[in-house]
């Protein structure tokens, strides 16, 4: 039996070991460190199934800012799985990184690129457990700091530098909003612990205006993390400019952790009626913007950036309908299908480019990759028997239950948009003829295995959701209101 907090500590120590080992072994093939990282994280993932039961939420001490409830453990595993797949992608992406990093050694810089995601992973895992604003802030910063480096990693590429600067400035700004919001909430309630804030809100009679102001500032910061409109401006450029594995990490790991924190933070504030309205407005705008802006895109990476905004919209529908389980389930589907698409993108981009037109005739050039991309796109669009559909089904069901008519109407329209822009990729792969000089595409065994795993996951969870639902059951009392 392993105590839950040990998971993060093991991950962190493993990351430090790799980083140090990397510094003292300049000559070896640095991809060893990626395999070592994958191995370590997989071991931790395995360990997460043999956890000692966590202590109940205490009023002081360690267990007052760290929780080991099912939601937390679920998202710890989520972060681990994401990071493992990102590292697998990074191995395939290594040649591109080498071109983008100045340095005399053939493997200069690669080691850090494989080690840093492990620190991000530790941060994401802490975020999943954070139930105190201080803890939330610190773990969020750990994630953001490592992303600053990762986003700008291929620094010879001007687009990457631009992306890095945009991410740095806007992210720092949003952090400022977060801290400022926390201070306002602390000023009104005198607490940073979410459970005690909730308790204080129900028992005492506060002035609502400063409280709402503080919450609004916190929502701005979290809206930035999950790419919700109107805080999504950075997303297309950063996603397009960053190294592709990092883009995948940003769009899955960072977003998922943002949603966990959002669910936890909102729990005590749901007794305020204004909060629901803000969420509905945010969800509606995000759905409309993400889907409509994705329609004319011709670059697949940018398309996926807009699609990630669109999916943030569906997730926000789940949040606005107070269904944490729906959000969690949707995120699982989102993880599988987004990582699958990015994995294919990396392989195809190495043999052509990131434009949709580079996918012309992929069905002939590489039936396996075309099939994988087809599954990914169909799942993103929401075709039944995929995890993506079941996620939408669950979210829509929650919205029907809460009678969110506006969101449902918008949701149906935007699903129609989604079919258009996702099928644009399918169209290129299957309808169009490949260009004559197109090279054959080889997929490494590791990537092929990872893609098959992801495809299997998409279909299994698209037909049989029960394992995930069971993992999310048995809610502790504190988060019942938000995650009903």
């Amino acid at each position: 039996m392993i105590p839950t907090p040990a998971l993060e500590i093991i991950v962190l120590v493993w990351g430090l070991i790799l980083l140090l080992a990397e510094a003292f072994t300049p000559k070896i093939d640095k991809r060893v460190f990626a395999f070592a990282g994958i191995f370590g994280l997989a071991a931790v993932l395995l360990g997460s199934f043999f956890l000692a039961p966590g202590a109940p939420i205490a009023s002081t001490g360690f267990w007052s800012f760290y929780t080991a409830d099912p939601l937390a453990i679920f998202f710890k595993r989520f972060a681990l799985v994401t990071t493992i797949f990102v590292l697998i992608m990074a191995i395939d992406y290594a040649p591109t990184i080498r071109m983008g990093v100045p340095g005399a050694e053939p493997h200069a810089g690669l080691g850090e690129f494989f080690a840093l995601p492990i620190f991000t992973c530790a941060g994401l895992m802490w975020m999943a457990s954070a139930i105190d604003f201080v803890m939330i802030f610190v773990s969020l910063e750990l994630v953001t700091m490592s992303f600053y480096v990762l986003v700008t990693f291929t620094r010879r590429n001007p687009a990457t530098l631009e992306a890095g600067v945009k991410y740095l400035i806007l992210s720092a700004l949003s952090t400022g909003f977060l801290v400022y919001g926390i201070t306002w909430i602390f000023g009104v309630t005198g607490e940073t612990n979410l459970a005690r804030i909730g308790l204080a809100l129900t028992t005492n009679d506060f002035d609502q205006v400063p409280l709402l102001f503080g919450l609004l500032l916190v929502l701005v910061a979290l809206g930035f993390k999950i790419a919700a409109v109107p805080f999504q401006i950075w997303v297309p450029d950063v996603y397009q400019g960053a190294p592709t594995p990092v883009t995948a990490f940003l769009s899955v790991g960072s977003k998922a952790a943002g949603f966990v924190v959002l669910l936890r933070v909102l729990t005590p504030f749901l007794i305020l009626p204004q909060v629901g309205k803000v969420l509905v407005a945010m969800a509606a705008l995000t759905l409309l913007y993400g889907n409509f802006a994705a329609l004319p895109q011709t670059n697949l990476k940018r398309l996926l950036a807009y699609s990630s905004i669109a999916h943030a919209g569906y997730l926000l529908v789940g949040v606005a309908s107070f269904s944490g389980t729906a959000v969690a389930f949707y995120l699982v589907g989102y993880l599988l299908m987004t990582l699958l698409c990015f994995a294919v993108l990396i392989v195809v981009a190495a043999h052509g480019g990131e434009q949709i037109e580079n996918y012309a005739g992929l069905a002939k050039r590489s039936p396996f990759l075309a099939g994988a991309m087809l599954v990914g796109m169909l799942s993103l669009a929401g075709v039944p028997f995929t995890a993506g559909f079941l996620g939408k089904f669950y979210v829509f069901d929650a919205a029907v239950q809460q009678r969110q008519t506006v969101l449902l109407v918008i949701g149906v329209i935007t699903v129609g948009c989604g079919f258009y822009y996702y099928l644009k990729v399918v169209r290129a792969m299957f309808w169009l003829e490949p260009p004559n000089d197109s090279p054959t595409i080889r997929v490494s065994v590791l990537s092929r295995g990872a893609m098959i795993l992801l495809i299997a996951g998409i279909f299994v969870f698209g037909v049989y959701p029960q394992p995930i639902l069971r993992a999310l059951e048995a809610r502790p009392a504190t988060s019942t209101a938000a995650t009903r």
Binding site: A363, K364, L378, A381, V383, P384, F385, F389, F393, F396, D397, V400, Q401, L408, G411, V412, I413, V415, G416, F419, Y420, L423, V426, R427, F430, W431, V463, Y464, P465, Q466, L469, E473
Partner: protein
């Protein structure tokens, strides 16, 4: 039994994708499926009625979601239609030059979507199977279509995706509208709740409207029909056969299976709307059909028009009308599949389907001319064909509604209009036959070969099916009657 029927086309598609010889595997797979549906049809115990061959696998305890297969008379009739048309569509597939495997796999997936939807007793899988068929349609039209195929593929896919998400909302509302203790996706549970009046009338109105629009889009109910002619004109013939003949019936099946029995109040409330829209199908689309100058577009529009009769039968909500609607679904599926198959063969030979370019083909291709003639008569609804038996039932059923009110009721007006629609369909069908097969033959068609010997068998199969039901409608009614009797008894109470 049902497991085999549902999974055989799916497995066949997978086998083909993984390298089994495409045409033969598809033929054997669909042939076995068709045989299995016939066996199920004769093993169904009509005396006992209800759902038989029920199989259930639990998917999710917390949602009370099961993968639930079962069949009653209506299901069996639809399954036979689906399997028969699939077999003929595969048979009629000409040699495919590019990605032959993918073509057959798409065809089989399209059919398995329809078959799975018909055989599912669970709302979730009922819905999911149908939407599964959307993507093969997109690929079939986009890769192997003719004419303005890209636009057609986009239009049909997005139209149907939107329609099905409206439908999904309706189904979710339905799921949420019953008391928590008995909440379920199981159709049987919902049916017994519907009969017990557990769904509030106000809720019924909203849900019925959503279902009507959702299913309506899928069946090309006027004014949501504009995707259909374009898609059928562009689709390769086997795909058009399956889509127009089978898949489109899903929406009607849903209305008969879910909307009418579960939401009788909602159906009564919106019957005026349904009547207005279906008159649009029959009269407006009928006139549009007359104006067509190409056979493929004409057939596409005619299939939209004939949906109006089926809607009329459904709207009547009595035993004879609903039985008529069910038989008409079968009859129309057979006749339109045959027409699209022959149209595809003509297009393959001449490269055109414009009426003014063709003519006199009956002399050059006597068998095709004979088959097309039979299909034309069937589509018009001449006695002896299944369409006649079905339309008569629909008209009787619809005319009887409100007859006790002594006067011209809304239903009777619509029925009269619909009867005039038969004249319209006679006009365009016979005109098409005359312009293509009669008259002076065009010089350049003189060397065209007639229908290949091997292709005559599926033609005869389809004609035999429509004649059997046409002359002995009781074969179908034997199993259909116990399906509708309980729900009709309920709504007339």
């Amino acid at each position: 039994m049902l497991r085999f029927i549902v999974f055989a086309p799916l497995l066949t598609a997978l086998l083909i994708l993984f390298g089994s010889p495409a045409r033969w595997t598809a033929l054997i797979g669909s042939g076995l499926t068709a045989l299995a549906t016939l066996v199920a049809f004769f093993r169904y115990d009509a005396g006992a009625g209800g759902f038989q061959f029920v199989r259930s696998w639990t998917i999710s305890e917390s949602w009370r979601l099961h993968f639930l297969l079962g069949a009653d008379g209506l299901t069996l009739v639809m399954l036979i239609l689906a399997a028969l048309v699939l077999l003929c569509a595969v048979w009629f597939t000409p040699p495919i030059e590019k990605s032959e495997r993918l073509f057959y796999a798409c065809l089989l997936l399209l059919a398995s979507g329809a078959i799975g939807a018909f055989a599912s007793l669970d709302l979730f899988f009922f819905y999911a199977f149908h939407e599964l068929a959307l993507i093969p349609t997109f690929l079939l039209i986009g890769i192997w279509g003719t004419g303005n195929r890209y636009a057609a593929a986009w239009k049909v896919t997005i139209y149907l995706a939107l329609g099905s998400f409206v439908l999904l909302l309706g189904l979710l509302l339905l799921y949420r509208s019953v008391p928590v203790a008995s909440r379920s996706f199981d159709l049987r549970v919902l049916q017994s709740l519907g009969h017990a009046g557990a769904i509030a009338p106000a809720a019924q109105n909203t849900i019925f409207l959503l279902l009507l629009i959702g299913f309506g889009v899928l069946v090309s109910l006027f004014p949501f029909h504009s995707w259909a002619p374009e898609a059928y004109a562009s689709a390769p013939a086997p795909a058009a056969m399956l889509h127009a003949g089978v898949l489109k019936k899903f929406g009607l099946y849903g209305l008969l299976r879910i909307a009418m029995p579960l939401l009788p109040e909602g159906a009564r409330h919106w019957s005026w709307l349904l009547l207005v829209l279906l008159s649009g199908n029959i009269i407006y689309v009928g006139l549009v059909t007359i104006a067509q100058k190409r056979l493929d577009w004409m057939l596409g529009y005619s299939s939209v028009m004939h949906m109006g009769y089926i809607f009329l039968g459904i709207a009547s909500a009595n035993l004879i009308g609903m039985n008529g609607a069910a038989v008409l679904m079968f009859a129309h599926g057979i006749s339109i599949a045959l027409l699209f198959a022959l149209a595809g063969e003509i297009r393959r030979r001449t490269g055109t389907l414009v009426f003014s370019d063709l003519g006199g083909l009956a002399k050059i291709m006597p068998f095709a001319g004979f088959a097309f003639g039979v299909a034309t008569f069937a589509a018009i609804g001449l006695p002896g064909f299944a369409n006649f038996a079905a339309e008569v039932m629909v008209f009787f059923g619809a005319f009887r509604v409100g007859a006790d009110l002594q006067g011209l009721h809304f239903f009777q007006v619509t029925t009269v209009l619909a009867l005039w629609g038969v004249v319209i369909s006679a006009v365009y069908m016979l005109r098409a036959y005359r312009m293509i097969f009669m008259g002076a033959p065009n010089e350049k068609w003189n060397i065209l070969p007639d229908l290949a010997q091997t292709l005559r068998l599926p033609v005869i199969l389809l004609i035999a099916a429509t004649l059997t039901i046409g002359c002995f409608p009781n074969t179908a009614l034997r199993v259909l009657r116990p399906t509708f009797a309980p729900s009709v008894a309920q709504s007339t109470r």
